[in-house]
């Protein structure tokens, strides 16, 4: 292997699920479970049939508001199509349209209760330059199928013909994107709305991940880490000099490497965030990651390190534990920002200036996050942020911590996971892959650890 570092992965019951795995086993490039999650995120679309039916019935399309969605109304174009009664037929129609010969045995279209779940064929995605077929193919095939099932065409029913298109596509292409909460959705934003190269996996809302993890903190952390890590890889932020730094960082922050995060939480379960900082530094010192460099006149000790990526991983673990402790004690997602933003000064002035987590990026982005989650200048409650929000994109390590904070929220937020992301709780039940994420990352790493070659 390229790197000598090996770690153990512990689940949220502090049980070791992977022993001595090389850190590369936690790379999205190698870890098969991560690969499956990313594939699912990229290829899956959802069709909300009741919404489709209601909107066509009421003549409702092209809204801009994310809740309420009541500002645009054209009842005169409404048509009561019994879409729900023909759900199976519509699913079959979509399947016929998007299937590609020689499928790999996957059922690409499933009707699950009132939702059609489409997984775009791999071949289609392979020949696409982007991941947009997850929208374009599904939307076009849905429109065609509905028209066909109900025998609608421009001669027989001119207005309904276009109402179907309007409900599915919203204002697109007058708008660059679709209406929020449109009947067809996917995990990730359409690629043309992404700001910046390689941020596709980062275009997801915090609350969606919280719901997919069913508010299980360490699973939320792990799932968020898989996605943000993948984005960091895609952005080129993890190449060469930054690779080990990122591998170690996510291992300790997202996957509970060596049970460090949970040890820190347990040691300080009735303590404060500052206690966690000191415990973290003590552990770094005990493990030989940092050492005393010199002593100043006041007795103040300057620390030094020969392995900053590892020390950074320790700091990330400490910050994660700090967020868990702070949000856990308050049982509120809003407390995450304080721990994210203001813990790093403690690390910095404790060590004599060793860089704080993510060499200061976390502090910078964290302070912005604290401000914008408490001000009139934009932002929202933490759950409504997307990972790639301009405030958060300063650091690739901040997003999982916000998810952790929101997992620990006991119902204090207006924009709660239940309100913004109800469908994702259901999706979790539909896709067992989202259950026990941390455990599965570890098991997957364990599986491949002997196959990895440098």
């Amino acid at each position: 292997m390229k790197y000598k570092d090996k770690i153990d992965i512990y689940n949220d019951l502090s049980k070791c699920v992977a022993k001595d795995v090389p850190i590369e086993a936690l790379s999205p490039v190698y870890n098969p479970y991560m690969g499956k999650i990313l594939d699912l995120f990229k290829r899956t679309a959802f069709i909300n049939l009741p919404k489709l039916q209601n909107c066509i019935k009421e003549g409702k399309a092209g809204w801009e508001t994310s809740t309420g969605q009541d500002e645009c109304k054209m009842p005169w174009y409404g048509k009561d199509l019994p879409i729900m009664d023909h759900a199976e037929e519509i699913a079959n129609g979509i399947r016929d349209r998007i299937k590609v010969g020689g499928e790999d045995g996957e059922d690409i279209v499933k009707l699950i209760e009132d939702t059609i779940v489409v997984k775009m064929p791999k071949k289609v995605m392979e020949i696409a330059a982007s991941r947009d077929p997850v929208y374009t193919w599904v939307m076009v095939s849905l429109a065609q199928t509905v028209a066909e099932v109900f025998g609608i065409d421009p001669i027989k029913d001119l207005n309904t013909t276009n109402m179907i298109k309007a409900v599915i596509f919203g204002r697109y292409p007058q708008s660059t994107t679709f209406s929020p909460g449109a009947p067809v959705s996917s995990f990730l934003k359409p690629s043309n709305t992404i700001d910046g190269l390689g941020c596709g996996y980062s275009g997801i809302t915090v609350n969606h991940i919280v719901a997919l993890a069913n508010k299980r903190t360490m699973d939320g952390l792990a799932l968020a880490s898989i996605l943000e890590q993948a984005a960091q890889w895609e952005m080129g932020n993890s190449i060469g000099w930054y690779e080990r730094y990122n591998l170690l960082g996510y291992a300790y922050e997202g996957y509970n490497a060596n049970n460090m995060t949970l040890d820190l939480v347990k040691e300080n379960r009735s303590g404060t965030v500052a206690d966690i900082v000191y415990s973290t530094i003590k552990r770094a010192l005990d493990d030989g990651v940092i050492k005393v460099k010199s002593k100043a006149a006041s007795g103040y000790r300057f620390y030094a390190t020969n392995d900053f990526p590892m020390y950074n991983a320790y700091e990330l673990s400490g910050t994660t534990a700090g967020v868990i402790l702070n949000s856990g004690a308050m049982r509120a997602g809003q407390a995450a920002s304080a721990a994210i933003a203001y813990t790093h000064d403690l690390f910095l002035y404790e060590t004599g200036g060793l860089p704080d987590a993510d060499t200061g990026r976390m502090q910078g982005a964290g302070i912005g996050f604290a401000f914008y989650t408490h001000s009139i200048y934009g932002g929202a409650g933490p759950g409504a942020y997307t990972f790639d929000h301009v405030i958060l994109r300063g650091s690739g390590f901040i997003q999982p911590l916000i998810v952790a904070g929101m997992c620990l929220d006991s119902g204090t937020q207006l924009f709660s996971p239940e309100m913004t992301s109800g469908a994702f709780f259901k999706i979790r039940e539909t896709f067992p892959i989202f259950q026990d994420v941390l455990q599965k990352v570890g098991e997957s790493a364990e599986e491949i650890k002997n196959d990895l070659k440098g």
């Binding site: 700001d195 003590k282 007795g299 910078g364 302070i367 401000f371 408490h374 934009g378």
Partner: protein
């Protein structure tokens, strides 16, 4: 108990014990240290008289009409509320009239907080002897700030070389001084939407577009000699000879046309309009002057003017804050520093050499130019971008920008530093190395910090942390840039000054931790990741982490502009852009931004883009249509 818990308990106990021991050790300072501190204090006290000799002392005295070093304001709460301000009284009166006429309430001082419990101090602008009120510097009240935005947005620069080649090679026509003059004459007509090719085209009242024109920029004396004097920018007259020579050499024989789209056009639409207007009118002028038809070659011409050889002042922005080109968010920082014209008459030698030659006075002169220039960046960043485009027009960030306009803190502190530098640097450049520079940066930053501490009146004038942060970043970046000639070093110094020095000294920075950009700025400084790093000249407000917090555009401008003065070069990023903004016909004064803004505060600034010509009771000639062009600016 498990061994882990025992271990933990032991650790806590040991820690407590150690801390107690340390406490006893630490609680008494060594006699040497006590002496040292006492000595410093004594020394400081001795210098009170020197403080009184500082420019800032006089400025504060004028503003507050009180002892600047005294930290109590005895008249606080006793000044009659908003009535102490002429402007506020006018607003109340106007609000009342508006409410009565329209039947909907308007401006009303009875709602919200009681304004004027403190002193609503007058605001002297720069060193121009102009005193305005704070409200006069709000961008909605200040026509010069609006014109600053407009003059940038309405500028597009197009290169003619490709078009000329097309003429010669594909059409077989010659380009001569006569044809070029004809083209320029036609262009002045088409820039104001005058028709040249067809009957029945709607045309525009020339009074409305009196600010639409075009000029040639070239480095070739021969070409300039062949042009009518009103058709080109006179580099030799506008710049110090050394600067002119450098700019002309860099531009070479290329011929550029800088086109000024009417202010009214960009105000009605947006900056993106400028490129379209300029390309269309330029192409029309070209077709007319060279007698081209709707033939195939003119599509190449259109492509050259619209895409291949055009310089917009700003790029398109990311979709989450999408705007077209030529809006301020898309301007690279290097261009912003090139818009500034304050150094034009200064010799083109590095700062440290200049102060060696010119001594204290010269040192202060150059620093004055830096302070004058970056005030424009402060307005662009705080007032217009963050306060207006991003935040929807709040008054707060306006006041942050005005910290660069008023009070003279930048000049004072930078001037003091320059005096020291002229004594001690002896004309030697400073290596671009943090370990060396940090000593000087600490010196200047603590000087700024102490200035605020010694002058409670200055602290009151720059009443928010964001104001002080803004000054701190400007001063440190400027000094870093000027000493080393490196914008990156300048930015490093600015980031350090805020994220560490200011923060730890006072345990506060600015508006909700204004150090966001400074914490991110340090790891980003030399990073090769896609969204991080890069030369400061190529940053800007669309660079994601610069887009959403205030008080740092001036920091980067100071690093860029300071570095230019530091290395003794004639431009920052583009020699063409530098020359384009030397154009004396521009309404905004890019050489004396604070002067223009101050005059607008006095309602003495005549902006472009007014609609008087098409409004009832038009009184055109009284509205400054024929603006006097002031070639010899005092500065």
């Amino acid at each position: 108990m498990t061994s882990k818990e025992e271990e933990l308990k032991k650790f806590v106990e040991e820690r407590k014990k150690k801390m107690e021991e340390e406490m006893v050790k630490d609680s008494t300072m060594s006699s040497r240290e006590v002496d040292y501190v006492r000595e410093l204090y004594r020394a400081s006290q001795k210098f009170i008289d020197i403080e009184k000799g500082r420019d800032i002392y006089q400025t504060m005295k004028e503003i507050w009409n009180a002892e600047p070093l005294y930290e109590v304001d005895e008249k606080m709460y006793h000044r009659g509320g908003y009535r102490q301000s002429t402007r506020k009284k006018e607003f109340v009166q106007a609000g009342r009239e508006v409410a009565q006429r329209r039947g909907i309430p308007s401006y009303n001082r009875a709602v919200g907080l009681p304004v004027g419990q403190r002193m609503l101090e007058p605001m002297p602008v720069g060193k121009w002897g102009i005193i305005i009120e704070q409200d006069d510097s709000h961008h909605m009240n200040n026509a010069a700030i609006q014109q600053l935005n407009d003059d940038i947005k309405r500028t597009v620069i197009m290169n003619l070389d490709l078009a000329h080649r097309m003429l010669q090679v594909r059409v077989g026509k010659e380009v001569t001084p006569e044809t070029l003059n004809l083209y320029m004459e036609t262009l002045q007509h088409t820039m104001g939407a005058g028709a040249v090719a067809q009957e029945h085209m709607n045309e525009v009242n020339p009074y409305l577009v009196k600010d639409a024109w075009a000029k040639i920029i070239t480095g070739s004396d021969e070409i300039m000699d062949g042009l009518e004097p009103e058709f080109y920018i006179h580099i030799d007259e506008l710049f110090h000879p050394d600067r002119a020579a450098a700019l002309k050499k860099a531009i070479g024989d290329s011929i550029w046309a800088v086109l000024r789209v009417p202010t009214l056009a960009v105000r009605m639409s947006d900056g993106e309009e400028a490129g379209r207007w300029a390309a269309m009118q330029n192409t029309m002028a070209f077709i007319s002057a060279y007698q081209l038809s709707g033939e195939h070659v003119i599509s190449d011409l259109a492509y050259a003017f619209k895409h291949a050889r055009v310089i917009h002042m700003g790029d398109k922005m990311w979709s989450s804050r999408a705007r077209g080109r030529n809006e301020i968010g898309g301007i690279p920082d290097g261009f912003i520093a090139d818009f500034m014209q304050c150094e034009r008459d200064m010799p083109m030698i590095p700062y440290v050499e200049y102060i060696q030659q010119e001594g204290d006075k010269g040192a202060r002169r150059m620093m004055g130019r830096l302070a004058e220039g970056i005030s424009m960046a402060a307005i662009l960043d705080n007032t217009l971008w963050l306060g207006f485009y991003m935040s929807g027009g709040i008054g707060f960030s306006n006041t942050v920008a005005t910290s660069a306009l008023s009070g003279g803190a930048n000049e004072d502190v930078l001037g003091e530093f320059s005096s020291l530098a002229s004594k001690y640097l002896r004309g030697k450049p400073i290596a671009t190395n943090w370990d060396i520079l940090k000593i000087l940066i600490n010196m200047i930053v603590t000087y700024v910090i102490e200035t605020y501490e010694k002058f409670p009146t200055l602290a009151e004038l720059h009443w928010g942390g964001a104001h002080k942060t803004s000054i701190m970043g400007t001063v440190a970046s400027g000094v870093g840039g000027m000493l080393t000639g490196s914008s990156t070093m300048g930015l490093w110094a600015g980031n350090y000054a805020i994220a560490y020095a200011m923060k730890e000294g006072w345990l506060r920075t600015g508006w909700a931790g204004q150090e966001i950009q400074d914490h991110l700025g340090l790891p980003y400084l030399c990073s090769y990741r896609p969204e991080e790093g890069n030369l400061t000249e190529l940053h800007g407000l669309n660079y994601p982490f610069h887009s959403y917090s205030a008080g740092h555009g001036n920091q980067r401008a100071s690093a860029n502009y300071g570095a230019m003065l530091g290395r003794g070069s004639a431009w920052v990023l583009s020699p063409v852009v530098k020359v384009a903004f030397a154009d004396p016909h521009l309404a905004f004064d890019f050489r004396r931004p604070r002067y223009a803004i101050g005059r607008a505060g006095l309602k003495e600034f005549a902006p472009d883009g007014e609609r008087t010509a098409i409004l009832p009771a038009c009184d055109i000639l009284d509205r400054g249509i024929l603006k006097e062009i002031d070639k010899e600016f005092p500065i």
